[in-house]
């Protein structure tokens, strides 16, 4: 097939940028409709992300089983020209008739002579280094932190499946999850730090930043929403001068929303630590906050004497 010009100036060739599973299928479909295809990919070979996956969503099918036939077909198809290790630099013109500038990166291998045997890879003396987790004795914990953490770990006898419960206890102890405790705990439990981190960021009960002394949880459940909870949240934001999820500079208040405390009969509701305030209105918000501020001033004065 050649790049024949049609009457309206369009050329019978197409360009596909990206040689992943989508790009390969597009190239194959185009070629099947009788169009010459240039398949460009910035990587040394086509295949894209899917080539790196074991299984794919949602069927959990083996990735290579899905894509291997396409890889072979693209390679064999005479109407598809693969241009790998190349970036698209410039594109001008319109659909069917355009000019493209590509920058081809150096491969340092003569492509027409290489058979893909892989001997060069095995013989190359330079290796990538593997990242190793920090060793247990490299993590320094203060005595107080050490005894707290050990006590929590002992409570669960070091069982990995209780990871969430352990994190809940640490969160309750520190009002957040300190990084050094997490790292120590991960090594102790022999769980990858990445897994601990993924759990700590998935569940809303955990925080990676310190929280205030008083945690204000505004219920934004449906019953509270229809009775104006959003406005209560806004008036708290104004009163404390922080946004939902924030903590005041003096570390006294943290503001967050919760999805239903289950006191729908008292809607709208918010809780300050364990204390519940039901049937609140915007007008009452400043008084309630003031009560805590005053108590804090008293506490501080008491601590000084």
């Amino acid at each position: 097939m050649s790049e024949a010009k049609t009457n309206d100036g369009k050329i019978g060739a197409a360009l596909v940028v990206g040689g992943g599973i989508g790009g390969m299928q597009a190239a194959l479909d185009l070629a099947d409709s009788g169009i010459k295809v240039y398949l460009v990919d910035k990587e040394p070979s086509i295949g894209g992300v899917m080539a790196k996956l074991d299984k794919t969503f949602p069927t959990n099918d083996c990735a290579m089983c899905t894509m291997a036939p396409r890889l072979v077909e693209v390679g064999r198809n005479k109407d598809i020209e693969i241009i790998s290790l190349a970036d698209v630099e410039n594109l001008s013109g319109g659909p069917g008739n355009f000019t493209l500038t590509l920058r081809k990166k150096p491969r340092f291998v003569k492509e027409d002579k290489c058979t893909g045997c892989g001997t060069c890879v095995t013989n190359c003396p330079v290796r990538n280094e593997i990242y190793l987790d920090v060793k247990l004795d490299e993590i320094k914990l203060e005595d107080a932190d050490m005894s707290k953490t050990t006590a929590i770990l002992e409570r669960y006898k070091g069982r990995k499946e209780d990871l969430i419960a352990i994190l809940q206890d640490i969160n309750a102890e520190y009002r957040y999850l300190p990084e050094f405790v997490l790292k120590y705990m991960a090594r102790k439990l022999d769980v990858p730090y990445s897994q601990v981190y993924s759990i700590a960021t998935f569940y809303t009960a955990f925080s990676l930043v310190p929280k205030g002394k008083y945690k204000i949880s505004v219920c934004l459940g449906t019953a509270c929403h229809v009775r104006g909870a959003q406005r209560i949240m806004e008036s708290l934001e104004r009163e404390l001068d922080i946004k939902n999820g924030g903590t005041t500079k003096d570390m006294l208040f943290s503001l967050e929303s919760v999805r239903c405390i289950g006191c729908c009969g008292l809607a709208p509701v918010f809780a300050i630590n364990e204390e519940l305030y039901g049937k609140v209105s915007q007008g009452k918000v400043p008084q309630i906050i003031e009560k805590y501020r005053k108590a804090e001033v008293k506490d501080k004065a008491y601590a000084k004497t």
Binding site: P58, N60, Q195, T222, V226, E274
Partner: protein
């Protein structure tokens, strides 16, 4: 009997208890009058609540200072105090007896049969109400297959929302290869506006333990888990008390009741992720992983928790089991409709007079629930819609009020049974805003595994947000419908598959409101900030200066005793002025 459910605890019922103790001591009545702190009575709007048995006299909205008078009159002189009794909104005379109050008289209690009657922290009180009789009947005189047959004949379906036949699940698991087998009680009640599971755990925890024991015996399981939301500390506390008492009585542990059957339950606390109410995500969470659902071509009854056969049922399902075994399948099957048997517990909340927890037979109409049990809307405002089934359910308008409440009818009308939330909306609620609210919730709770759910809900939310902010375009509704279809089809678990329901049902029944937002740039209910303006009605304003004092942005000006005005440039539309005005002079337009 003083209610100590979470609603009443936050209304300071323990202060009432202390005052009662003090007064009873003063009058030397401690011998004759016993104070019992019970589980949730259900009538949460009226808390703190106290019921005097055996007469069943109902006192509500008690204050500490009422108690001396109450004790002196009622307990000493035998004259119940009328002014502390419940007066129905339309009537003038109070109703003294609990069973005569409309809210209670229309209900039929089965799952909640012990509510307000026992102390949840005392196992003897549960046993005195025929507790654990069903379990001992099952374990001593019935074969496991007979138990499953009984459940099958009763027609019990999962009360978590989907309505899968319980016996089918149990049978699958019983015959599935692999040991050990697990059972799980799902108490991760994440739906906003629902609190029935929590009330059961707080008010009658032993009924759940007994149900799980019967299930474990039928399935052949030795270990059970209960997954409770972290937001429910009281439920966790009461349930663990119940567990240790049951262990003391030999109802849990090795060789239960001297038989060869052994079973125990451990508590697993959630960590605040809505998606963990989904069965496979919940199991992942118990295993200490992040709660992402998995593909379910293999049922949990074959490979569930730790890849072992597992049965997972909702709190209400487990709590229904003892009654079925004790009274027999036929008795249970008589209640309800052809396809939906038994009763269902709803939390009736929102703009309704009688907020609370109710248990009704399947097949009752929505109208009966809202107008007979709920006694209508607050301030007798006009009914607009009722939202059922939590964030994945839908909003039903007035025309659907005569629908019977069962699994099929609700699904057909574009909503669902769900775990039993029922939120009543009035004319002041904007339906577009409600739809946006649910998507905002779901967008935050999507675990992010499926692209359609993660990005599709976000796209729908953006679109609804634009409509609420007056930036809606003509084609938006069509676009929402198209996105809804994609999210529904391409999501793995129930969260994504049902996420478009609130949008689709509001479009179906309240299209005119969408049109008003998009074409006329108006919010008929006066909710969407970008489309409303506050102003002061000069006729009604008395110049009390209250609104000007409370205004956070100093947008209201006016001298004392003179008409006030709002500076629209400065107004942030927070609505404080409207809330504080005693003369209803602040209007929305």
């Amino acid at each position: 009997m003083v209610c100590a459910g979470t609603g009443c605890v936050s209304a300071k019922c323990f202060k009432i208890k202390e005052a009662l103790e003090r007064e009873l001591k003063k009058h030397d009545l401690c011998e004759e009058v016993q104070i019992v702190m019970t589980g949730c009575n259900g009538f949460c709007a009226q808390g703190p609540i106290m019921v005097v048995q055996p007469e069943g006299i109902f006192y509500n909205m008690l204050k500490e200072e009422d108690i001396p008078h109450l004790v002196a009159e009622h307990f000493l002189k035998g004259r119940p105090v009328k002014k502390l009794m419940f007066t129905p909104p339309q009537e003038k005379a109070p109703v003294p007896l609990m069973k005569d109050i409309g809210f209670f008289s229309k209900q039929s209690l089965l799952i909640l049969r012990n509510r307000g009657l026992i102390d949840p922290e005392n196992i003897d009180e549960y046993i005195a109400r025929n507790g654990y009789a069903a379990f001992s009947k099952a374990v001593t005189s019935m074969a496991p297959d007979e138990v499953i047959a009984e459940i099958r004949n009763s027609g019990l379906r999962g009360r978590g929302g989907a309505g899968f036949p319980t016996a089918k699940k149990w049978e699958h698991c019983r015959h599935a290869p692999g040991e050990p087998k697990y059972i799980i009680c799902n108490a991760d009640e994440g739906d906003p506006g629902c609190f029935q599971d929590r009330s059961i755990l707080e008010g009658d925890p032993h009924s759940v333990i007994e149900g799980m024991l019967i299930g474990a015996y039928a399935i052949g399981s030795r270990h059970g888990y209960i997954y409770v939301r972290n937001e429910y500390p009281l439920a966790i506390k009461r349930f663990s008390t119940a567990l240790s008492q049951a262990r003391q009585y030999g109802l849990l542990g090795d060789d239960v009741l001297g038989t060869k059957f052994s079973f125990d339950i451990s508590i697993s606390r959630g960590a605040g992720a809505f998606v963990c109410g989904e069965s496979s995500a919940l199991m992942a969470s118990i295993e200490g992983k992040i709660g992402e659902p998995r593909y379910k071509h293999i049922h949990a009854t074959e490979k569930g928790l730790w890849d072992k056969p597992t049965v997972l049922n909702n709190v209400k399902t487990w709590a229904s089991v003892p009654s079925i075994i004790r009274h027999g399948a036929e008795w249970f099957a008589k209640i309800g409709t052809e396809t939906s048997k038994g009763t269902m517990v709803f939390s009736l909340v929102g703009k309704i007079k009688n907020t609370g927890l109710i248990e009704v037979p399947m097949g009752i109409s929505l109208r009966e629930i809202i107008y007979d049990i709920g006694e209508g809307l607050i301030g007798d405002r006009k009914f607009k819609a009722v939202q059922t089934g939590g964030p994945s359910g839908g909003c039903l308008p007035e025309s659907c009020l005569d629908l019977p409440v069962d699994y099929e009818s609700l699904t057909e009308a574009g909503s669902m049974m769900g775990s039993g939330g029922m939120i009543v909306l009035d004319e002041d609620n904007c339906m577009v805003d409600v739809a946006r609210y649910f998507l905002d919730f779901l967008k935050g709770e999507s675990c992010g595994k499926c692209t359609a759910c993660r990005d599709g809900i976000e796209a729908m939310y953006e679109c609804l947000n634009d409509i609420c902010e007056g930036k809606g375009k003509e084609k938006d509704i069509e676009m929402l419908e198209e996105l809804a279809g994609a999210v529904k089809d391409a999501s793995l678990c129930g969260l994504g598959a049902s996420a478009p329901n609130p949008v689709l049902s509001t479009i179906r029944y309240f299209r005119d409101e969408y049109d008003a937002h998009i074409r006329d740039k108006k919010c008929p209910a006066g909710v969407c900030k970008a489309l409303i303006q506050y102003s002061i009605d000069a006729e009604k304003c008395t110049g009390c200066t209250l609104c000007a004092k409370k205004c956070p942005s100093e947008a209201i000006t006016g001298e004392r005793k003179a008409k006030h005005a709002i500076d629209l440039e400065k107004c942030i539309k927070c609505g404080v002025c409207r809330e504080v005005c005693k003369f209803k002079a602040v209007v929305v337009n």
